[in-house]
């Protein structure tokens, strides 16, 4: 057996591919294929599917109702990405400019809150933000600073806040990696060539950290677009995102084929976003990830 394998190195390579390949097939390709097939079938009465081919699901997907939700989801995801970048960049910069010894500690402090279950953390925001009983509104009202509760909950603000909070480390880490790689002598060279303060930042540091910013934006935008836990809890059932509609199709409306079609549309959108990223970055830049 061993001798046979040694004679046929390509067979050896194929055998080595079995564990990883099998895993990908069972847990990634097969479910994807199921979703794709379902999206062209008719709905069953109590969930499940009827095995009859139809393109009706995709016609419904392009209904203004769903397309509108889709666009507003994209808007929320974009807003989340921009805010996460504005908040995350200074944090990444701060960590990257600390002495080597401190950086590990700071990165650890960044990660620790995320050891808690995502659902629990989102509910924690709920207790803070809720309109009449939330900690923030109650405190402000008791102190007499405001008369009526602020609209902190059940709106886009709450969802974006929750999403930014949830995905912030995914923005910070790639930017940190890019800044950490930055050769400090480039900063000195810019200073040597009469650039001061912000000019050094905008002409040298920021352009060179751009691959990290783009990578971080991808890592925040994609999960934000498909989010359904955060909008379900902090949206107060009012502001729905595409993720909620998809989960509703499966769990409440029992329309699996339509849910599958919506999923395919979202994946198509994300694929386009990813392609844009790969086109706009060089291979070397992507190594940051």
């Amino acid at each position: 057996m061993q001798r046979y394998l040694r004679k046929h190195p390509s067979l050896q390579a194929w055998l080595l591919l079995i564990p990883a390949g099998g895993w990908l097939f069972i847990f990634f390709l097969a479910p994807l294929a199921i979703v794709l097939v379902y999206s062209f079938l008719e709905r069953g009465t109590y969930g499940g599917v009827e095995w009859a081919f139809t393109t009706e699901n995709f016609q419904r997907v392009f209904d203004m109702l769903y397309l509108g939700t889709f666009l507003s989801s994209a808007k929320i995801a974009l807003l989340t990405t921009v805010i996460a970048m504005l908040v995350g960049y200074p944090i990444a910069y701060f960590i990257a400019t600390r002495p080597q010894k401190m950086r590990g500690t700071l990165l650890m402090m960044l990660m620790i809150p995320f050891w808690t279950n995502f659902l629990i953390r989102t509910y924690a925001w709920l207790t803070l933000l809720r309109t009449n009983t939330g900690l923030i509104n109650v405190t402000l009202m008791n102190l007499g600073i405001i008369d009526a509760p602020l609209p902190l909950f059940g709106n886009t603000f709450a969802i974006v806040l929750g999403l930014v909070y949830g995905w912030l480390p995914d923005m910070i880490l790639p930017i940190y990696a890019a800044l950490d790689r930055l050769d400090h002598s480039l900063v000195e060279a810019a200073e040597d060539l009469y650039a001061a303060g912000w000019k050094v930042f905008f002409r040298v540091i920021f352009p060179l950290s751009l691959p990290g910013v783009v990578a971080g934006s991808m890592l925040v935008f994609i999960p934000s677009l498909g989010a359904f836990v955060t909008p379900a809890i902090l949206g107060g059932g009012k502001t729905l995102m595409i993720g909620n509609i998809i989960s509703n199709q499966f769990l409440a409306a029992h329309d699996w084929p339509f849910g599958s079609a919506l999923s395919m549309l979202m994946m198509g959108f994300m694929l386009i976003a990813t392609l844009i990223y790969f086109r706009s970055s060089s291979e070397e830049d992507r190594k940051t990830l």
């Binding site: 810019a190 060539l193 009469y194």
Partner: protein, 367 residues
């Protein structure tokens, strides 16, 4: 070198500490305007830190740095009339070569048309006239080196600081660049302050050299002064090759001499100022200054130091023949003889020989 004697850079009693570590220890150097000045020493001797204090990248813990007579104090790099060529070039990877070179002028808000002309002038100066549109990544090491030089020189600095700029190049390219750098320096007439750990490089290029070790300046002088008249065992050892014949200091005639462990005496024209009689010291003499003759040959040399020994090793290396001559149990002397006749006339191992050298070339240095 320009004729005037104005001081371009004056470093007065400068000390730099990083925490408890003293990187530069009470250093004073005066660099003349238009001079090619090198700071030479092994890594960690404080030469780069000294350079960085001139550039404003580090501030002295104590002491004063003046450039063109003006105290620099806490001035940041962008307010100093100097530019730097960094060790790893530090070209901006996201800009083209032309954008790199233009950067300094752009920051100074020079007009676009003037920038364009001067960038081309610089590209011509460093002999890369058509490389403006390339990215630094597309250039070879030697080309990047030239672009880094152009990017600094375009600003017409009063002083150009160079931090081991040839360190990353291979030997052949290095030699070419040494001569080219020197030629460019002479053409633009700007003071160059050059940091290197390569003694040959410093000797080839410099008008004057400061030899540094452990944060201190040991000797400042022309390459010839440094090579021919080293004032300490470190300088004699670091620059070129040298023999160090150990012994104790003793009075000999009018001056000082050295008594070897076997009792023989050697004289020397110069002794380190504060050596004491009876102190352990060495006589330093360069291998190429030593003449070698077989002991049975009748050779008389006046005003020459003379000592006998036995050849332990003979190595023919083309231009020269090298001998290792054992004087006594603890000492061998390296001798280098030029092969002026075809095939040379080398002496075999085991032959008894007499060594001669002009005592002007022998120096008593503290151990």
């Amino acid at each position: 070198m320009t004729g005037n004697n104005q001081i371009a850079v004056e470093i007065s009693n400068v000390t730099k500490k990083f925490g408890e570590v003293v990187a530069v220890d009470d250093v004073s150097i005066r660099i003349r305007d238009g001079e090619f000045f090198s700071m030479l020493g092994p890594s960690g001797c404080g030469k780069t830190t000294t350079l960085r204090m001139i550039g404003g990248f580090e501030l002295p813990t104590a002491g004063i740095v003046s450039i063109m007579g003006e105290r620099q104090g806490f001035k940041p790099p962008y307010q100093r009339p100097v530019n730097t060529v960094f060790q790893n070039y530090a070209l901006f990877p996201h800009m083209t070569v032309a954008q790199n070179i233009a950067f300094g002028l752009e920051m100074k808000k020079v007009s676009k048309s003037e920038i364009k002309n001067r960038v081309q002038e610089m590209l011509d100066l460093v002999q890369l006239p058509k490389m403006g549109r390339r990215k630094p990544k597309q250039l070879s090491g030697g080309q990047r080196q030239r672009i880094a030089l152009a990017r600094a020189l375009i600003n017409h600095p009063k002083v150009l600081l160079l931090d081991e700029p040839l360190g990353a190049l291979d030997l052949k390219l290095r030699k070419d660049m040494q001569l080219e750098l020197k030629a460019i320096q002479e053409r633009v007439g700007i003071t160059f302050v050059y940091v290197t750990h390569d003694q040959e490089e410093a000797i080839t290029m410099s008008d004057r050299i400061a030899v540094m070790s452990a944060g201190k300046v040991l000797q400042i002088g022309t390459p010839e002064e440094i090579y021919e008249h080293p004032q300490s065992i470190f300088v004699a050892d670091f620059i070129g090759e040298s023999n160090f014949i150990p012994g104790t200091v003793t009075k000999l005639g009018q001056g000082l001499g050295l008594k070897l462990s076997d009792g023989r005496l050697l004289d020397a024209a110069w002794a380190e100022p504060n050596v004491d009689l009876g102190e352990a010291a060495v006589i330093s003499v360069r291998p190429e200054k030593v003449h070698i003759y077989p002991a049975d040959a009748d050779v008389q040399m006046e005003k020459m130091s003379q000592i006998s020994g036995t050849i332990e090793q003979t190595v023919y290396i083309g231009t020269d023949t090298r001998y290792a001559v054992r004087l006594n149990e603890e000492t061998t002397v390296q001798v280098r003889q030029q092969n002026m006749l075809r095939g040379g006339t080398h002496l075999n191992e085991g032959v008894k020989v007499n060594l001669f050298w002009n005592s002007e070339n022998a120096r008593i240095l503290k151990r």
